[in-house]
Structures are given as structure tokens and as C-alpha cells.
Symmetry: C2
Subunit: 208 residues, 2 copies
DNA sequence: GACGCCTCTTGACAGGTTGCCAACAAGCGG
DNA sequence: CCGCTTGTTGGCAACCTGTCAAGAGGCGTC
């Protein structure tokens, strides 16, 4: 019998261990809702003591936030520069680009737009809002609005409401299959065009 | 000293007590996310023993479901018979009515449209979907579509996507204050009108 | 006016979860 | 080979939830 000094556990670099726990947590949060994933589950899958999770992430909630944040950041990274044609052409191109992007990142995108866990949490809301605002900025830029427009704040808010429709349409298309890609394209193009041509121009500069 | 037999607690009719607890729960769920409202909090506000909540509603989750359900149902029950004028008049009336309703039930409505408080719960999802579908039905009826239209399923889905915008707009208006009621009115009216006049007519009968 | 009973209401208990922290030990540097 | 840094463990205390038998409010009856 070789006197193996069998270590009960292996010591890892902080970043490495942190990433390992993060990965396991992401898997579990993808499988079950937030409340049904206990830190014990995460620790078990990572083959680690439960306390270590708190050591690295502080709180179960903070760990969840980290997961959501990464999931939301990835999808909206590279918005290709849109063609500089008429408004109609640009809206169509934007919608088409969007549909392609979603097609490729289906699961990722769906997971990101339905933070399936902690809800109405200030921090989660902030993270999601940040992503929404950034994509609304891109839409406004693509539609030719000047970035120093005094109405920017409200224009952005209006585009964000359009984002609500986009998410809902994505769910109808991808999850429920009640709408075809073509129907979604028509819907989103038409509505975006109306938004840009009929609604946005009516907005008066910020009230104060 | 009058020998007052001071009762430690008052005995109420089941329906009455149930309603009282329900109301307090609705308030709290409107103030904080699901996870941050303990049954103790609800019991405290209702001036009642915690166990009584389980007696009436079984589970915290069931109580929450009841709250969400009512919040989603009440608003859409009495869609007053809309005036039978032009499409424009009817959309305006519908949007205006909706804004009034929301103003009155602000907290309740907000809590209901962001039921992520419990996280991708199948039951919650079902309830929300049910309500969304029902209100979409009402919108279609009000806009003069025949209930046996073969495209009904898809028309309904399209209106549901509009619902996504409605919810987003409500949040911008009530929660963040980035949009005024007037702006929301303009947005929702214009977009609904476009949906009804430009998008819906393009939908071809169900593919199979 | 007093009593009895129905059932509404309470309070305590068990199981489970989370955050914290002091002690332990892996494994590199001297 | 030994000591020290620090990654890691395991148990503790607080809290929350669902259950249940016991207690008491108050209506109906005599």
C-alpha cells in the first residue's frame, strides 16, 4: 500500500475556482427557477463546500446577478453598421439584422429577456435596463437622431417600449410558434416605422 | 373598572378574513419583490397569526398566485362597451380607458405585469398568458374582427405583442417617470392604430 | 341570561435555507 | 524538510415556511 497522501480537496487559483462555481451556477439557474436552486445544489455540482460560494460571491443573489449580467452582455455586443438609405430601408435592415441575430443566439437571447428568477429586484432591473437602453441608443442612432438631441431621454424611453413589443414578438415566434418569422418581420418593421415617423416627431423637448 | 371581557382577537366570516389577508398581501407584493415579503410580514400587517394564512391560502405561492390573478383579471373584466364610431375613435377610447384603469390600480397592475417575483413559475406563466390572451380577444372584438375568423390565433398573437409594448410603456410612465401620460397615450394610440390598419390585414390565414 | 358547540384562530414545532466565521490544511517559498 | 500564506471546510445562528392540535370567539338554543 503506497502511502499516498490523498488530499481531500484540491487548491485552485481564485479566478479558476470562481469561474468553476460560476459555470455550475449558470447551468442550474438555466434548469430551474431561482428559488428552486439552493446554494447547496450549486456547491454539490461544483464539488465544493457551500460556504465557499459565499466567500467568492458574497450572496446567492449576487451570484445570480453575475450570471444574468454575463448572459445579457453577450447578445448585444456587435451591432453592425446599418446602411444609410431611406428610413424605410434602414428600419427593414435593422429588423432583418435583429432577426438574424436572434436566430443564431436563440436560447441565449430568450434566457436574457426573461430573467427567470428574482424579479423586480432593483439590481436585476438595473442590469436589464442598461442593456435595453443601450440597444435603444443604437436604434436611435441608426435612425439618424443626433446624440445631443434634448429629447434624447424620452426618445430612448419610447424606443424601449418598442423593445417590449420586440421581446413579446420573439417569444411568440420562438417559444410558442404562433407567428412565423415573416409575420414577425412585417410586424416589427411596420411598427418601428410608425414609431419613427409618426410618434417620435410628436415628442416635445423634455418638460424641465 | 368595568369588567370588559376584552377579546384577544375578533372572529370574522371566512370570506371577510380571507379578503382582509388578501388585501394586505396585495399591498406588500406591490411594495417589495416576492422573496422579500415573508408570510410573517403579511400576517403582521393583517394583525393575524401567520398560520392563518396557510389555513386560507394553503401556500405563500398560492396566495401570490391569487393576487396576480385578480390583478390581471379585474382590469380586463369590464372593458366598457366601447363607442361604435370609427376605428380611430375606438382605439382612442380603448387606450384612454386603459390608462384610467391603470392609474387607479397602479401598484396592483405593476405587480401583476412583472410576475418574475417567483421566477418562470409554470402556474404564474399560465395565468399571465390567460389574461393576455383574453385582453387581446377583447381588443380584436372591439376592433370589429369576427370571432370565427380563421386567422384568429395569429391575430391574437399579434395583439399580444402589442401588449408587450403596453406593459413596457406602463413601466416607463409609472415607475420611471420618463414618459408622461400624454406621451404614452399618443404612443399607444398611434401604434395600436397602425397595428389594426396596417399589420393585421396583411396576415394570411393560418398556415395549416 | 347562561350554556354548548361549531369553527375560526392561535402558537409551537420540524424541516429546510442562508450568511458567517473560526479552524484546518494544501502546497509554495525559504 | 519546515513554516506560512490563504484557499477551503464544516458547524452555528437566524430566519422562513407548512402543519397541526389546542384554545377561544360568539351565534343559536333553552
Amino acid at each position: 500500500m503506497t502511502a499516498e497522501s490523498a488530499p481531500k480537496w484540491r487548491r485552485l487559483e481564485p479566478d479558476e475556482r470562481r469561474e468553476q462555481i460560476f459555470t455550475c451556477a449558470a447551468q442550474l439557474f438555466g434548469e430551474r427557477p431561482y428559488a428552486e436552486v439552493s446554494t447547496s445544489d450549486i456547491a454539490a455540482r461544483a464539488g465544493v463546500a457551500r460556504g465557499l460560494i459565499n466567500h467568492y460571491f458574497g450572496t446567492k443573489r449576487e451570484l445570480y446577478l453575475a450570471v444574468v449580467k454575463r448572459a445579457l452582455t453577450v447578445p448585444y455586443v456587435a451591432v453592425a453598421q446599418l446602411p444609410s438609405g431611406s428610413v424605410e430601408e434602414r428600419t427593414n435592415a435593422a429588423v432583418e439584422w435583429f432577426l438574424d441575430m436572434v436566430s443564431k443566439q436563440e436560447k441565449m437571447w430568450l434566457a436574457a429577456i426573461t430573467p427567470e428568477g428574482i424579479g423586480r429586484d432593483v439590481e436585476v432591473e438595473r442590469i436589464v435596463d442598461e442593456a435595453d437602453r443601450r440597444s435603444a441608443d443604437r436604434v436611435l442612432q441608426a435612425m439618424g437622431f443626433a446624440e445631443d438631441d434634448p429629447r434624447w431621454e424620452q426618445l430612448n424611453a419610447l424606443v424601449r417600449t418598442y423593445g417590449g413589443m420586440v421581446k413579446a414578438a420573439g417569444r411568440e415566434w420562438l417559444v410558442r410558434g404562433t407567428l412565423s418569422r415573416e409575420q414577425v418581420r412585417t410586424l416589427l418593421s411596420t411598427q418601428l416605422l410608425t414609431l419613427v415617423k409618426d410618434v417620435l416627431p410628436q415628442i416635445t423637448p423634455a418638460p424641465r
